[in-house]
Amino acid sequence: MKFLDYAPAPESRALLNLKDDYGLFINGDFTAGRGTPFATINPATEQHLAMIATANEADVDAAVSAARHAYDGVWSRLSGSDRGKYLFRIARLVQERARELAVAETLDNGKPIKETRDADIPLVAAWFFYYAGWADKLDHAGVGPNPASLGVAAQVIPWNFPLMMLAWKIAPALAAGNTVVLKPAETTSLTAMLFAEILQQADLPAGVVNIITGDGMTGQALVNHPGVNKVAFTGSTAVGRAIARSVAGTDKKVSLELGGKGANIVFDDAPIDQAVDGIVRGIFFNQGHVCCAGSRLLVQESIHDDVIERLKRRMQTLRLGDPLDKNTDIGAINSAEQLARIRELSDLGQQEGAERWSVDCVIPDNGFWFAPTIFTNVATSHRIAREEIFGPVLSVLTFRTPAEAIAKANNTPYGLSAGIWSDKGSRILAVADKLRAGVIWANTFNQFDPSSPFGGFKESGYGREGGRHGLAAYLKPALRSGSRSIVAAPENTAAPVSKKTVSAKKAAK
């Protein structure tokens, strides 16, 4: 027998108790949505999982009111240490129910159980644990003494790391004393609903966190609601622009975490086997549905052929298939829509003249799948070198000198991430200095930690999540004064540093 055809090693679904339908989580309880409910499916099999509610404008309003009420009446009056205790509870509950959450996430999103179990869910717990400890130490957030929370935060998250994105949003907001209305992505609302159950188990006061499911209209209504003080969005650059436009003239603080076309730069002195692993991790982890993916390989021309050969050999060991199988490396694409987009851009790549190579895998009959693919001979002017594909597709370009690598890496409106592979410390540091990217990995890739700020330069967005700076995103200085002794330092957002009267002309807008 072929050993490498590993026998099935499925994770059990038994520990999951899915309901047939889920409502909106508002004011501590589940309530029916007033919009039309919709189905969520398992993208690996296209099987129905559950019905999810749609929040209409009235529901959004109810959620924001609940959040406001909870903010005014309860949450803003709690001590930091009490807020911290709730967050610690949540962290522990996530750890207790970790396996169940991992299975649910794999079913709803399509990503392998190996990733949800070993990456996503542990990071969720870690994020809550990290921010729990900040709740009573806000003086040290870098916003000056006694900083104030903002109020109600509207948070809209994407489908690529559903529960993890939820944690990135909710944990710092709550630690800083805000209340939350969060809208999960349409195709991946399940773990958010399970999380709502966890909030009930944690006995979190009603209204502090509200989770409203729905579609793009729900998200829009939430972001545009006049009753929110902060908007936090992770998703496409196009929607990010729309949000930036819609908050113009309001008091809302905004942070945006948008797309990217990260350059993974491999120098001729790179630790070659680890670099190949890093390339694979950079673009095939999570099926390439990663904003900070290393979707452009910039490899030094002198080692191009060797690297590509090694890369292809390494890619042959990637196993595509049932996401619930513990040996699966590449899961399903999240939706038919996303699959169509990946296909379209890949076909474009071929038309543009790049050379396409894909892993020879057995594609299951049902579900949405795309074999890991690389394009070589990609030029900087090719669209597949510039546009975010958001799938397991790598564009390979070459460079001759470090300066050229930097220039090519920076030659994009995006600026989220980059990777540097070299054995030379001085070069790594110098290249890192010059790359215009918010997160840079040297001899590694796609590492995340709650203490490490994450976010982009340029059109990849602004604001940071994680770390002290991620906390500061949900705070404002205690008071504003002309005195030089005030060292208030909010993070870099589009929001006003201070708000004064706006002339009547503006009020009409």
Binding site: A242, I428, I440, A442, F457, G467, A489, S498, K500
Partner: protein, 287 residues
């Protein structure tokens, strides 16, 4: 017998030089009591475009200079301002109609603020940046870096010099380069400041000063894809919401207008508003 004075021509300050507006236009600058003071250049969108080009050219050198070097350069500007106190006081008295002592107080405050900001150049990184205690064998460091080109609408009301200084100094501290649209009615201090900059060690293009109508010029800066941030501190009287919407197209970092005594008050947050936090992970291993 009264000596015939030689009136100064007030031109734009772009790329370290003093060009007239490419449009050839000027506008009358009147004193507080309505007397003719000067014909100031009326900057056009092409002047704005040229200013952005100059600012981009200068960015690499300015952001690449050591913080100590930037601090010294900024401090020298304060030295030169101090040397030119009388000129600035005189211009302010004429433009704003203030008393000598009020004008002096404004100039003093402007200089002192400039010194305060200069001193931050080699320190703000220590306050805003930090190592991050990540899990795993990694050295992880977050450091604020300059955003790039900052377009600024200087405060348009009283205290034109102080407003201008308060608006541009913080952006420069972090290594950004600046295109500033001066106080429309009282632009003279701005151009005199340009003269100070031109005779200091500030490389050409680091600060670019446009006089004229903010309502005409700023929209071109707000929509310019090579401008990275937009400080609308002095834009309260403009259609600033439209400007913010326009800036959203390229995801610019935007600061909203401020008004009153407190506008652009000195704060570390003003420096940090024009920085981007970069976080780098390094593997570390003995084997």
């Amino acid at each position: 017998m009264n000596r015939l004075a030689i009136p100064k021509t007030y031109k734009l300050y772009i790329g370290g030089k003093f060009p007239r507006s490419e449009s050839g236009r000027v506008y009358e600058v009147l004193s507080h009591s309505g007397e003719f003071l000067a014909n100031a250049a009326k900057g056009s969108r092409k002047d704005a475009r040229d200013a952005v080009v100059a600012a981009r050219s200068a960015f690499r050198g300015w952001s690449g200079a050591s913080p100590y070097n930037r601090g010294q350069v900024l401090y020298r500007i304060a030295e030169l301002l101090e040397g030119r106190r009388a000129q600035f006081v005189d211009e302010i008295v004429k433009s704003e109609g203030t008393s000598d002592s009020d004008a002096s107080a404004q100039v003093d405050e402007a200089i002192d603020r400039w010194v305060w900001y200069a001193g931050w150049a080699d320190k703000y990184v220590q306050v805003a940046g930090n190592a991050n205690p990540v899990s795993g064998a990694f050295f992880n460091l977050s450091v604020p870096e300059p955003t790039g080109i900052v377009a600024i609408v200087a405060p348009q009301g009283a205290q034109s010099l102080l407003g201008l200084v308060s608006a541009i100094a913080p952006a420069l501290v972090a290594g950004n380069t600046v295109v500033v649209v001066a106080n429309e009615n009282a632009p003279l201090s701005a151009i005199s400041l340009g003269e100070v900059l031109a005779t200091s060690d500030v490389p050409g293009g680091v600060v670019n000063i446009l006089t004229g109508s903010p309502a005409e010029i700023v929209p071109w800066l707000a929509s310019h894809a090579d401008v990275n941030a937009l400080d609308l501190v002095g834009a309260a009287e403009l259609d600033w919401v439209d400007l913010q919407i326009s800036a959203a197209e390229t995801l610019k970092r935007v600061l909203s207008p401020e008004a009153g005594e407190d506008a652009a008050a000195p704060a570390l947050s003003r420096i940090l508003a024009f920085t981007e936090l970069k976080t780098v992970w390094h593997t570390k291993a003995l084997l």
